[in-house]
């Protein structure tokens, strides 16, 4: 981990300071510390403020509106998502966060009465032009409720790697990739000896990390997370937040959250949505300390939502 962190180029001084500090702590101690200060974790240094100016733009959303029948759920939203960042979508219930997220990998198509206008570009390609299965392999998703498949832990992670209609790869070929995904999701140490056990026997927090391992196994470019911690206890939440911060080194993360503290802890940028409109998008610190829009200020202050 350490070398990867040191190599990411675009750190501002204060991130680097935090990283150096954390690197001096043994990994296990660090996790123990995280556990000890859960659930509130207010005293964790805010670790971000990565500048997005120098990083690669991965996903560009241009004037996207999503309709259920003729009722708009997302109204003309434009934003971009960069490699190596965590973008949090916040806003009151029913404001279109999840709909927007599901539009990014065209999962809204599964809803019969949904339609959308505008363009979403993945590395410059219109996602509507891509084959949906290929798009979803590149833009993967983790859901609110942990939803492991009713099969073994190994098969859950290997599921995404097994190509359809071609020769099914042997277990020996898949093993390194599966182990690597489990390691990246921080689950490997806990399950290494019972990869053949049913995934349904894992705890909720472990199941969610398994779902993350499954989602990152085929090396997606973007990871969409729909309130991944809302069904979990504070301890599992802490583990997963830490995991998200590690994952952003390799991919872009878009996370929908109702938990403002969580957005503040892990996001580089925050987008505030209200009634389908994107009200404000900015660096996390700016959104929380100096929002430009009154609605953002009121929401963050807890006036509504």
């Amino acid at each position: 981990m350490s070398s990867e962190r040191a190599m990411t180029g675009s750190d501002t001084p204060d991130t680097r300071a935090w990283k150096n500090e954390s690197l001096s702590i043994d990994k296990l101690d660090f996790e123990a510390e995280l556990m000890a200060i859960a659930p509130e974790r207010t005293d964790i240094p805010v670790r971000r403020a990565r500048s997005t100016a120098t990083t690669v733009e991965r996903l560009r959303v241009e004037e996207v509106s999503v309709f259920y029948d003729s009722k708009p759920a997302v109204k003309g939203v434009s934003l971009s998502i960069h490699k190596g960042e965590v973008l949090a979508l916040i806003g009151p219930s029913g404001c279109g966060k999840t709909t927007l997220l599901r539009t990014l990998n065209r999962l809204t198509e599964l809803t019969r009465n949904a339609s959308h206008s505008g363009r979403i570009l993945l590395d410059g390609d219109d996602t509507d032009e891509l084959v949906d299965t290929e798009l979803r392999a590149r833009v993967s998703m983790v859901f609110q409720q942990p939803n492991p498949f009713p099969m073994s832990i190994f098969d859950n992670v290997a599921f995404a790697l097994r190509e359809q209609s071609r020769r099914r790869p042997r277990r020996r070929e898949l093993e390194p990739l599966v182990n690597q995904a489990l390691q990246r999701a921080g689950l490997y140490e806990e399950v290494r000896n019972d990869l053949d056990r049913s995934a349904l026997r894992l705890s909720g927090g472990q199941q969610q990390r398994l779902c993350i391992a499954r989602a990152i196994a085929q090396q997606p470019e973007i990871l969409l997370m729909d309130e991944p911690c809302s069904a979990l206890d504070p301890r599992s939440t802490a583990v997963i937040e830490d995991l998200i911060l590690q994952l952003r080194n390799d991919l872009a993360v878009v996370i929908v959250t109702h938990n403002l503290q969580q957005a503040r802890r892990i996001a580089d940028r925050v987008a505030f949505m209200y009634l389908g409109d994107l009200i404000e998008l900015g660096e996390t610190e700016q959104i929380f300390s100096d929002p430009r829009e009154d609605q953002t200020r009121e929401y963050i202050a807890g006036v509504f939502g």
Binding site: F159, A160, Q164
Partner: protein, 331 residues
């Protein structure tokens, strides 16, 4: 809510009038509840008593006449009971018919349920399929049997049973098995359907979100998720097949012995099962050898009890259930 009063211990809620624990004797219940309570217990115990009586009767009567030799010797038409042999052919027939019936019913039932739940478009067609299965479930087996006889006596189907050109005998293991599958399809369909309905949508979405097609999702995620329901439905369907008599008598011929001229001769030949054996040897049938009927009934009953036990077992295979197993759904 803003009260400046000093904190006082919360006032206790009045104790509930009725509880369900040991502290609430039946005497303190309302009369109506007492009556329903007694009725519920009586009904439950009565049901168990009837089942126990059946089991006890055949345990005494059946096992008394059951000899290991009965299980392994061929029956022969003889009035002298010492020479009329055992019911090996009937056991073979039961097993064979169950296998053929399931071989047809499992794919049909599962695929139908998957189509109705996962696709089900156009809607009206889905509704028609639903009610068709319900009607099949409610159709008396004798009606299915006579329809099968009329169907398989057509010359077109003569290859399924022996016959002369232009017509067919219509009675064979293949024709009986095909009609038996109609008995097994409803429980298999119902169990699979309920399993599919209980499979969370998020599980399918998770597969789509990993870039899998609909077919791959059904094959690799949805069907494994309902394999236990399929197993439960199949066991219930098998129990219906091995317990059926009408189709055996009309479509299998209920001949004492199996044909044994190669595998196809075997399958397109006639035979009997334990149920028809019991019927024929009961005082109502031709054989009038009640002891052998009792012995065969004991074997059949053991098979059914064993199958019911197996239904409970398959519910526990392979980790905790995804959802409460849908047992006892068979029509």
């Amino acid at each position: 809510m803003a009260s400046a009063e000093p904190l006082s211990p919360p006032r206790l809620a009045p104790p509930p009038r009725r509880g369900h624990g040991r502290r609430s004797p039946l005497r303190s219940w309302r009369p109506r509840d007492q009556i329903v309570f007694v009725l519920a217990w009586t009904a439950g115990i009565a049901l168990c008593a009837v089942l126990l009586a059946v089991l006890a009767f055949f345990a005494v009567e059946g096992i008394e006449y059951l000899r290991p030799s009965l299980l392994v010797t061929h029956p022969s038409p003889s009035v002298n009971q010492a020479g009329s042999g055992g019911f090996l052919d009937a056991i073979e027939g039961t097993v064979l018919l169950g296998a053929i019936g399931l071989l047809i019913a499992v794919p049909v039932g599962v695929v139908t349920a998957v189509w109705v739940i996962e696709f089900g478009r156009p809607r009206w067609l889905g509704r028609i399929v639903e009610s068709t299965v319900e009607i099949i479930a409610g159709t008396p087996d004798i009606v299915i049997a006579i329809f099968g006889l009329a169907l398989f006596q057509l010359g077109f189907f003569s290859f399924l049973s022996f016959g002369e050109p232009g017509g067919a005998f219509g009675r064979s293991f293949l024709t009986a098995g095909a009609m038996m599958s109609f008995l097994a399809i409803p429980p298999i369909y119902t169990a699979t359907r309920n399993g599919l309905l209980a499979t969370p949508r998020q599980m399918r979405e998770a597969s789509y979100a990993l870039g899998k097609t609909r077919i791959a999702t059904i094959r690799r995620v949805v069907l494994p998720a309902v394999r236990r329901d399929i197993a439960t439905g199949s066991t219930l369907g098998l129990a219906r097949i091995i317990g059926d008599t009408a189709i055996v008598i009309l479509l299998l011929g209920s001949t004492l012995r199996l044909q044994s001229e190669g595998i196809f001769g075997f399958l397109s030949g006639t035979g009997s099962t334990l149920t028809s054996y019991i019927y024929n040897n009961s005082p109502a049938g031709d054989g009038n050898a009640a002891q052998k009927a009792y012995a065969a009934a004991a074997v059949l009953l053991l098979l059914v009890v064993g199958l019911n036990w197996a239904v409970g077992r398959v519910g526990k295979i392979g980790g905790p259930p995804l959802h409460p197993p849908s047992r006892r759904l068979g029509a």
